[in-house]
Symmetry: C2
Subunit: 183 residues, 2 copies
C-alpha cells in the first residue's frame, strides 16, 4: 500500500517548523511522499530533501497549488483519501476498515481551518483522540497504527548517516564523508 501525505494551507512564516515536522514524520513512518499546498516554500522543501540525502530512502516532496483538483485526481485514479481531524471517526475503529483495501492512500493533514469540501471529499475523516493536540502527533500515531508497527523495520537505503540503537549515548555510522556541522 502506497501512502502519500497532503499538507494543506502551509504558511511560510508561521508553519515552517510544524510543516517540517509533518514532512519528517511522514517519511519516518513509511509515507513515500508529501505534497505541500498553501504557500510555496522552497527552503522547507530543500530542508526535507537534505534530510533524505543524509538519512537515505526515496521520500519525495512536491508542491500543489490546487489541492481540490489534486484530491479529485487522486480519487479518479483509484486512490483513497483519509482526512485527519479531531472531529472524525475514532482511529481505533477506522484503521481496521482502512487496512482492508490495498488502494493507494492519501492522508490529508489540515492547517488551522479546513474547508468543508475536504470533509466531504474524504473517504474517511479520522480522529486520533477527540482532544486538541497536534497534526504532527496525529499523523505519527495514525501511520503507526496503519502500518501496524512495520515502520520500525523500514530500511532507508543510500543514506550517509545511520543510527545504531544504543541504551546510553549516541552511536552513528557514517557511510560517506560529510560535513559534521550539518548532522
Amino acid at each position: 500500500m502506497n501512502i502519500s501525505v497532503l499538507r494543506l494551507d502551509h504558511r511560510r512564516r508561521r508553519d515552517a517548523r510544524i510543516t517540517t515536522h509533518v514532512c519528517l514524520t511522514a517519511r519516518a513512518f513509511g509515507a513515500s511522499e508529501v505534497i505541500l499546498s498553501g504557500e510555496r516554500d522552497k527552503k522547507l522543501m530543500e530542508n526535507v530533501e537534505d534530510v533524505r540525502e543524509r538519512w537515505g530512502g526515496s521520500f519525495k516532496i512536491s508542491y500543489q497549488k490546487n489541492w481540490d483538483n489534486f484530491i479529485e485526481e487522486w480519487q479518479k485514479n483509484g486512490g483513497e483519501v483519509i482526512h485527519l481531524t479531531m472531529y472524525g471517526t475514532p482511529v481505533q475503529e477506522a484503521v481496521p476498515q482502512i487496512q482492508k483495501s490495498s488502494k493507494d492512500k492519501l492522508v490529508v493533514v489540515g492547517g488551522s481551518r479546513v474547508p468543508t469540501p475536504v470533509y466531504k471529499a474524504a473517504d474517511w475523516n479520522v480522529s486520533v483522540t477527540t482532544q486538541p493536540h497536534s497534526e504532527v502527533s496525529s499523523l505519527g500515531v495514525f501511520l503507526h497504527m496503519l502500518m501496524d508497527g512495520k515502520e520500525f523495520e523500514l530500511e532507508f537505503e543510500g543514506g550517509k548517516l545511520e543510527v545504531v540503537p544504543s541504551a546510553e549515548g549516541k552511536q552513528i555510522i557514517t557511510h560517506e564523508e560529510f560535513d559534521d556541522q550539518k548532522l
Copy 2:
C-alpha cells in the same frame, strides 16, 4: 501508572508552537502534567491551561529552571525516567520492559541539543524509529504504545466542549456558554 513529561530547553521565540504541541500531545495521550524547562514562557503556560479549561481534565503545567535537580529528585522519590531520543533503544523493545514497573514515569523530551547527563541519568533512552522526525510525534507514538491504546478511552471531565465523533463534518457538544471565537 502516573506519567509526567519534562520538556527541556524551551526557547520562547523559536519553540512556542512545537512546545505547545508537545504539551497538548502529553495531555491528549494520558500524561497528567508537563514540566517546562529552558526559558520561562507565561503565555504558553496560559494557553495550555486555557485548553484544559475548555476541554476538561486535570492536566497541569509548571516550570522548573533546574531540570537536573528535578530529574534527580524524581528518581530519589522512586520514579523512573525515560528519555526520548533517536539514538536510544527501539521503542518496540523498550516499552514491554517499561510496562513491567508501575512506578511513576517521567518522559523527557529534549530540545535541539540534549546534554550528556540526560542520557546518563535516564533509566531508558528510547528511540521512536531511528530516523529524524519530531519530538511531537515521538511523544505521541511513545505514549500510545506505553498506554496500549487506552488513551482513546480517557475521559476529560469538566470541560466546556466535547467532540462527538462523526464520519463527516464537525459535531461539538457545548456544556456551558462560551466565546465561540476561542474554539
